[in-house]
């Protein structure tokens, strides 16, 4: 009995001693923080972080191979504790969540074709997915089973629906999806994204100069998710209240709905969600990336400057705006009149942007109060110059010194400053752009007897927003098309009339508009007491001549020159965009330029090089412009409420109103979801063919 006990005990003792010695000899200095961090993790060993268990995850965190928030279960609390343990401070990171990029369409209903398969990957292996579209969702719900957090469910349309509140951005669904439709998207990637030819894009999204994801926000509106709709707009347009009022909607020109009836009222919808937020009087939270420690100066607080500032701030940079006027907004404030864009609304919108932590200094002019050298000395890493185009072009008709001649922008600006100026007598406005119409309608509201717009070409060639022209006509403004001013008549240095020549339209010029040619001997007199010249603007770049300015090359149109692909000027740290780069344009173009420049500046200050956008989409993709649609019912477009004529004249009340919720949801149903939804012509044809065959058989 003794021997076996001794043998067993002996072996055990030897093993214990050997282990003890080995542990000593082969002791590996292990960072005590491994254990510390591992203790803080939940210990579920779920593998969601991508490491083999919690211990491995802890090691990776300590080594810096993983972020403190690597644990997908623990979420913020755990991350905070881990960060505190490691002596780091945790700043609120921007959320990363999974986003599906497909709405299925006919594909979704075909899921039952897969002879009993219930896994997308199996379907993919056997049939390579459906034959209709190479992109689409297979709808078998593999992502739903892959999600460990119950954030995905199957929606009514047979497509997965993601719950952003539950999604932790672990990426299991992305790995499970064989079609590569789901992606983990952070706010940063969205801001830095620009359309590519390789993407499946709706025509409106291609046409919009700011590349707003129109179908996506319309879809949110349709589902009543107004907050998400607005946040979608804000991914590429920080001024939805203002654009919602004054944008001439280039997007709607591409809208496929017009094949059947009228384009979707995209801008009414944008205005609706923007107004919805303001009516709640609580601002939606806008996520901002952690501070990068880079400082950017923005010169000019117009739409381009505000847009760049907004996106740069959201990318985590410190931004300071310098504005020469007493308030921010640029042309939105000093050009566009109150009856189109109430300044109370503009103020609210701009405040929301500044609330992100953007510093703004007004009443400081570049070239007068500060210089570029000063900004560099102050430690700004890059400068965005968006000074707009404020200089009125003249007509060259000896108008200098005459009383009763006003340049358009000056007129509007003065009007803005001293609200009480009244206009008397007859007014002639020369020009056909938004500035001309705004001058005309402003004059009419402040007491003019009669207002005439004199324009060289015909109505079709007018660059002003079509809606503006209609409103001006309704208000009784007279239009003299095909008339060019040739002489100003005056008495005692006071204007008494304008001599105009009749024009004929000749050959198209390079801009595609037909060139007007004067008809000899067709002079006529338009009697008037005030002539407003609104025949074009250019940037006021006098400041470039002052001290402390680098040499910035200009174009032959007297705009700042820069590389089109990056908006970077010849001085590497100076970027530009908006009206001072393109010449007078649209607000939404300025907004797009602001985000585009923000992308370039972001890469410039972080990486030093600005990567080109491969296959950058600039023209409309022909394949996306299908010219027929099947199975779409006609549905009339909604109309904005409009203030009656009596109420309009003599006041500066806002003319157009916002559509109500019911109309907005209805209008959203008119969207055809181009680009995210398949209109399968073959299927439709096959169906019709089968129908016909059946009919023939029965006869």
């Amino acid at each position: 009995m003794l021997v076996p006990a001794m043998v067993l005990g002996g072996i055990a003792a030897v093993a214990a001693v050997a282990l003890g010695i080995a542990a000593r000899i082969f002791h590996v200095e292990e960072d005590p923080r491994f254990k510390g961090v591992a203790d803080l993790l939940p210990g579920a060993n779920c593998g969601g972080c991508g490491f083999a268990g919690c211990t491995a995850c802890a090691e990776a965190i300590v080594r810096g191979q993983a972020e403190v928030n690597a644990c997908v279960i623990g979420q913020t609390d755990t991350a905070r504790q881990v960060a505190a343990f490691l002596g780091m401070e945790m700043v609120d990171n921007e959320p990363q969540i999974a986003c599906p990029d497909c709405r299925g369409g006919i594909r979704a209903t075909r899921k039952y074709d897969y002879a009993g398969f219930d896994d997308c990957r199996a379907a993919m292996q056997l049939f390579h997915g459906p034959t209709v579209c190479d992109h689409g969702c297979l709808g078998l719900g593999t992502c739903i089973r892959a999600c460990q957090f119950g954030a995905i469910r199957m929606g009514d349309e047979g497509l997965p629906v993601f719950d952003p509140l539950r999604c932790v951005g672990c990426g299991s669904c992305v790995r499970a999806c064989p079609k590569g439709i789901i992606s983990i998207i952070s706010e940063t990637t969205k801001i830095l994204h620009w359309n590519r030819y390789s993407e499946c894009l709706a025509p409106c999204r291609q046409k919009c100069p700011a590349q707003v994801n129109v179908p996506k926000y319309i879809e949110h509106i349709r589902k009543g998710e107004f907050a998400q709709a607005l946040m979608t707009v804000r991914e590429s347009n920080p001024l939805p209240l203002s654009t919602g009022r004054v944008c001439p909607e280039p997007c709607s020109l591409a809208c496929r709905r017009q094949i059947e009836d009228e384009p979707v009222a995209i801008n009414y919808l944008k205005r609706f969600v923007a107004d919805w937020e303001m009516a709640q009087d609580t601002r939606l939270h806008i996520p901002v990336a952690p501070d990068t420690g880079k400082r950017i100066a923005v010169i000019g607080g117009g739409p381009a400057g505000l847009s760049a500032a907004y996106y740069l701030r959201r990318l985590g940079h410190a931004v300071a705006i310098f504005e020469k006027m007493p308030a921010l907004g640029g042309m939105l404030r000093y050009g566009i009149p109150e009856y189109r864009l109430p300044k109370r609304i503009l103020d609210w919108e701009i405040q929301g942007i500044l609330d992100l932590g953007i510093q703004a200094t007004c009443n400081v002019e570049l070239g007068k109060h500060f210089s570029i050298d000063f900004l560099r000395a102050e430690g700004f890493d890059a400068i965005f110059m968006a000074v707009g185009a404020w200089l009125d072009k003249g007509l060259g008709l000896d108008e200098d010194g005459l009383e009763g001649v006003a340049p358009g922008i000056k007129f509007l600006e003065t009007y803005h400053h001293q609200k009480e100026i009244t206009v008397t007598g007859k007014v002639a406005v020369i020009g056909g752009g938004n500035t001309a119409i705004d001058c005309a309608r402003t004059s009419l509201r402040s007491g003019a007897e009669k207002v005439t717009i004199v324009y060289r070409r015909s109505r079709d060639e007018m660059p002003a927003n079509p809606a503006e022209i209609i409103a001006a006509e309704e208000e009784g403004i007279e239009f003299r098309f095909l008339s060019a001013p040739s002489r100003i008549l005056s008495e005692d240095n006071r204007v008494t009339g304008l001599e105009v020549l009749r024009m004929e339209l000749g050959e198209p010029d390079p801009s595609g508009r037909r060139r007007p040619v004067p008809v000899a001997g067709s002079e006529e007199i338009v009697p008037c007491d005030l002539i407003i010249e609104a025949v074009g603007q250019e940037p006021d770049l006098e400041f470039l001549k002052s001290e402390g300015m680098p040499k910035l090359p200009l174009t032959r149109w007297n705009t700042i020159d820069a590389k089109e692909e990056t908006l970077q000027t010849d001085v590497p740290f100076i970027f530009t965009g908006g009206d001072c780069f393109t010449g007078p344009g649209l607000m939404v173009e300025a907004i797009g330029a602001g985000r585009y420049a923000a992308r370039s500046i972001h890469y410039y200050v972080t990486d030093g090089v600005i990567p080109p956008i491969e296959h950058r989409q600039t023209d409309l993709i022909p394949a996306s412009l299908f010219d027929s649609i099947s199975g779409v019912e006609e549905k009339p477009k909604v109309h904005e409420p409009i203030v009656s004529l009596e109420d309009r004249l003599g006041t500066f009340k806002e003319v157009e109103g916002t559509i109500d919720e019911e109309d907005a949801v209805y209008e959203a149903t008119r969207c055809l979801h181009c680009g995210t939804y398949c209109y399968d012509h073959d299927l439709e044809e096959a169906r019709q063919q089968a129908e016909q065959d059946r009919l023939q058989e029965s006869t």
């Binding site: 021997v3 067993l8 072996i11 093993a15 050997a18 082969f26 268990g53 009993g116």
Partner: protein
């Protein structure tokens, strides 16, 4: 020649998993992905060979001279457990890469019946030292082969429309049974 026959027999005919039904828990637990199955397989080959050598020595040098053969099970458990721990400590210090590759499987093997089984079978068959080493390594290789094949099947199975009641371990066991039947086809080879 004899050694080759011994090895082939151990790998195919008397496959430790599919013919002797030993080591079923890692067979079901670690066989969901081919990658992990390979890791497990290699770890088992390594540990089983090493453990067999030590247990064989302990049996013939320690137990047989004292007539204590009946203690073999207890002693073997002790030796294998201590050995695996030792190997783990050693690898962690000496070969970090090997540790990272096999490390997480070692604790799983501490109580693995395949390893224990091989050690006991060595004694039962009365092998000499060389035969013992070959037999152990080959048996463990058989284990690796079976678990890797099985993981391949299971990866496919995961995608297949399995009736709800059969999903997971249930269908895995059925599959294991069928694989075992297939391996019985090798039985004729030994004779």
């Amino acid at each position: 020649m004899d050694l080759i026959i011994l090895a082939v027999g151990a790998i195919f005919v008397q496959n430790i998993l599919l013919a002797q039904y030993l080591g079923n828990c890692p067979f079901c637990g670690v066989s969901k992905k081919t990658g992990t199955a390979v890791g497990m397989g290699v770890a088992v080959i390594f540990v089983a060979t090493l453990a067999s050598i030590f247990t064989w020595l302990a049996y013939y040098r320690l137990l047989v001279p004292r007539g204590l053969e009946y203690l073999q099970t207890l002693v073997f458990i002790l030796i294998i457990a201590a050995l695996v721990q030792l190997v783990e400590i050693f690898l962690k210090k000496q070969s970090r890469t090997l540790y990272d590759a096999l490390g997480i499987y070692l604790p799983l093997i501490t109580t693995n019946c395949a390893v224990m089984g091989i050690a006991l079978l060595n004694i039962k068959h009365g092998f000499g030292f060389v035969d013992m080493v070959v037999y152990s390594a080959a048996s463990a290789a058989g284990f690796a082969l079976a678990i890797i094949l099985f993981a391949g099947v299971r990866e496919r199975l995961f995608l297949a429309p399995v009736p709800k009641a059969m999903r997971g371990t249930a269908v895995a066991l059925v599959t294991a049974g069928i694989m075992s039947l297939a391996f019985m086809g090798f039985a004729g080879m030994g004779k």
